[in-house]
Symmetry: D3
């Protein structure tokens, strides 16, 4: 199985791959991740999981040619500007996704997958793929890297959310890029009341309160017990899950 | 506890309620619901659940004044235009929500809840409430009526999705507006392959394929076994859940 | 003659009606109407006149099938936000009208009429119908309910404007929804100078001055002499006029 | 009384005039005017009436300093593109008017009048002045040159509409710019049915039908009996009316 | 060779010319030009050069029919609003150019040239012509009047920029419209540091600093030595250059 | 001197650097570069020059802290979609630049430099920095990497343009990333007539013709004589020039 970087391929290679291949677009963010994680955490992790997944596919067989686009390094992070972020508005992010997807269709692609690393991109990513499949004769998939797991046997629930700058992301970064994690990871005591966006007063409710991210200090949970070994297992499971998801998408849409 | 319709209140009543009250905005859709359900199903059900919930609150006590806006009868339904729909684009729906929410803030409201009846509105609703809480000093909640349940004891899982024009919605309509359900409800045999939007090839993946709604005939599952009695219990549980959610939102944001 | 509510019809009924029928879209507003009229006055009156008109047509004969959409309850009311309103910007209202009209064309309609209840919607309504007729092969009509009268014999001048929250609207509300009119209707003395938007310094001039609506207290004229009986005659004349307008539109565009 | 052209004044003169003066903005169009009138008819006539009016004011007294902007030569004429036009979309025209009005406010103007020569600009002009007076502390007026007359005594009804490329406009052009009227002015026989936009099937109804302007040949009425002498009287009455309107606006808003 | 003003031509003449002809669109600005030059300097000079060029062509031969549009009198001048300007935003200017160019294509033109008089319009002009040639089967040219010269022999470097309200523009205005130049032209001493936009700290760098235009008093260089005779030679060279450019464009795109 | 990658820094480091530092934003493109160069050529070269420049600064002294953002990998390339590209529209690119620049200002930066690798981004980059310096109290610089040279002594003219996929870019890629250049580099014979966008019929004219890029095969000149050694010298000169430009910008804006 072949996989290439679009940025390193010539246009004829890109066109040729488009006929049967799948274009892969990682999207991330640049935003505050508390005192110990770097601004680019979401982009780094999306790329890490995607690169591990395609490496697995490389060893496993006959998936169609994969063409990996350069990551969109900026996402929708207005809620992190109170500290620091490089944020696209929802409208701008939607326009970027529309333009990128349309370009791929114009360049011959009929199967595309978006791999997201930032929760705040979720709604615009979903809207973009829905819009795209309505206006073009394509099949398009999207996921956030934490929603695809290796399955029942890996001990990871597929519906877990990664939080923000807490135990989950810190564990993954300790596994993927330990050089970028400032140590010791600071402990974050309980915040009272806990943030409404993360702890809605009733299940099923989405609640947003002005100034909430600043009030709780920029992270959802305590990261001080993060663990590189557990991070490695989580990363492996996500990479394996994403590899299987790519294969399943390929099989379902050939 | 007082609840009023904004459309029937004078502006001074609306202003006075804004100081401590909660504005409630139902949003729905007008779109094909297979051969047996009316175009306005989503709007009707969102209003039904909301009206039952506020009636429960009326009997139960001290919640702050509730001001119910007229429902936005149109939603984001481009995927149903292959049959019939009155659809707002995502950008238009977002603009409507922004304008309505800003108007409420200008008119003195600091607490607002959006109650949705149409899955296709979900992303824009979430984006709108996030945007709103960033630009205004408000607390704002959103839910789709099916995501709030009466809790563990009601035998209903909070994460069930209502599908489209299938068993769930038909049961609710048989309970709420049986006069509008065409009978006998037609059976819908299995579709092969099942729709990718409802049956992604791998868990955690969102997949959209061009022409999929038309291919599967406009509904997600067989509605012929829908049941008015079960519909009543589902409606009651959603109304009870929404009433509790409103009370919890009130308590958390006073 | 058949008339239906789009929200209560199935999509096949909506499609079938579209071939020869006329879609009817009422639009209104939610905005301050002085101390005695409800926020939804304009929407209520547009719906009242339209429902009376279609009832007359029901008794009168062979007009093509009429399909009445749910009213758009929000209009363009930025000038009433000083008190209270739920207002769409002109751009948003235009986008909503474009999307609704395009949806109707996509769903098979070639003849559409918009019935307006709020003066502030007038320009965007006119622009929307002009734009629509340029981009689609349709015939589209628009009116504000007060511009169509039963004709010479009814003693009502067709060019009268209803003012805002004054004698005209209060009389109509006393006839249509007396339960929603707060009594006694407060008297409004003369304002000096009178509002420029209503009393331009030279005939033929449109004049707008910053803060004018707040300065004059939110209404155009004294409503205290409003009269239910006169309101009934005005309503009847408008309903009869609209019924004739619908018949004439049908005849001219078959 | 002073009047100047903004394009010929230095910025200090423009600023100084802004304190007490009135800015005057003519807007027109470039669009087909049948076989005998030039594309720029609407712009030419708006400028002609405005220049005659300011000349009258120059002779009559104490009006505040008038600063005349260069005419916006392009208007909203999509309905004339079937033949030939240079048309701005409604959104573009609105953006131009917003930008021009905001620039004038930034440059110190508090009183502005728009003088229009093209019916198709009417809605956007009205919306623009309303929007402007809401966002800035200004008083702003607008008219189309044919809506202001010298009054009762001039034998001209103030509510007459000029039609398009018919008797009215041709008479005015024979008076103002006879060199640009191709003669003999062609006769235009009756069109059956007459255009719906000009002859709605019921009074008070606005009706637009796809392709109507092309069907009726691009004019509203027969121009062959147009008359230079009558055109002179009409022009004089409009110029006198506009001069009085400017004086009245000045007096009401000082 | 024929040249006409579009505003004075009938639509049939405009259409007929479109088949083989070239449409010419001058664009300018209204903005502060220091204490001695009028607001409309850029528009006046673009028109002056264009009219001289077409007059030369009229005497010189067989160029295709030229159709000159009325000048767009407003440009993109936000940096001059600190003093006085009538400025379109970049988005508005782009929309105007798009609409005008599209109208010309719809009206039959395949060859168009934009002649600019204001440096601040440059980027939007370039973008507009690129966009236009991508979406329509046209050939389109653009220049600023100072970038086309009569060639090597005229002693003028083609890459000179006119600055703003300095020696270059003042000399041209003394030649073209001496009545509009206030004299004596005030001297402008050296500004320290010189404006970054005009004197970047390193060659090849574009630098913009907040408040820079106000700091340096609104002009780029000393105009007090401006010279009508030199202005005449510069104007003649630009007109001759533009005439040759039009002929060359015609020859290359027939 | 310190330089960091924003994506690898924590938000506190990013904030701290913002007080005195300079943010550096590389922007590029993904677009066809003939048969021998990769799609990402422009992004790769912008990053290469920027990284070499900051490395030089690292050895040379006291420049303020530099914070390098991740490159925006996509640019405005609609003219390359005939072959293959991932292109943002001009409006989208402008929105991305606005959002990124605003985010940097919100995060505390007052000095920012954009380093561009793609000619097609030039206009939007210039507009974005101008807009930004008008709305925020910042100083902002922009360049394309080929416009800054080491100066007179390096034998390179600062005004040379790199063409597209020709001798210049191929030489640089042979120096920077020889592994990505397909060899032998194909020869491109003369195209008759040469492309109008690169060879305007008269100096000073910008000309765009529909379909021109496809007609000439996607490159501006013959790359077959490209030369790694010359590429190295060109790269070195650009890196040295950019380093000096950064130092000069720092010195001028402290």
């Amino acid at each position: 199985m072949i996989h290439r970087k679009l940025s390193e391929a010539t246009w004829r290679e890109v066109r040729a791959a488009g006929e049967r291949g799948i274009a892969l677009l990682p999207i991330g963010s640049q935003e505050q991740h508390a005192a110990h994680l770097p601004m680019g955490t979401d982009t780094l992790l999306a790329e890490e999981v995607l690169d591990r997944a395609t490496a697995l596919l490389g060893r496993e067989g006959d998936v169609a040619e994969l063409v990996r686009l350069p990551a969109l390094p900026f996402g929708h992070s207005p809620h992190h500007l109170f500290a620091a972020a490089v944020s696209l508005s929802a409208a701008t992010l939607g326009a970027v996704l529309d333009d990128v997807l349309d370009s791929l269709a114009t360049s011959g692609y009929r199967r595309i997958m978006v791999v997201n690393g930032h929760g705040g991109n979720d709604e615009m990513m979903r809207l973009a793929v829905k819009r795209f499949a309505l206006r073009s004769d394509v099949t398009v998939a999207a996921c956030s890297y934490w929603t695809v797991t290796a399955g029942e046997g890996d001990g990871e629930r597929p519906d877990v959310t990664p939080g923000h700058a807490g135990w989950f992301e810190t564990s993954l970064m300790l596994a993927a890029r330990p050089d970028l994690v400032r140590t010791p990871v600071p402990a974050r005591g309980p915040v009272e009341p806990p943030p409404l966006f993360d702890n809605p007063p009733y299940p099923g409710l989405t609640v947003e309160r002005h100034g909430e991210w600043a009030r709780v200090g920029g992270s959802t949970d305590d990261a001080s017990s993060a663990d590189a070994e557990r991070g490695r297992r989580l990363l492996d499971a996500r990479a394996a899950g994403l590899a299987r998801a790519i294969r399943a998408f390929d099989a379902a849409t050939r």
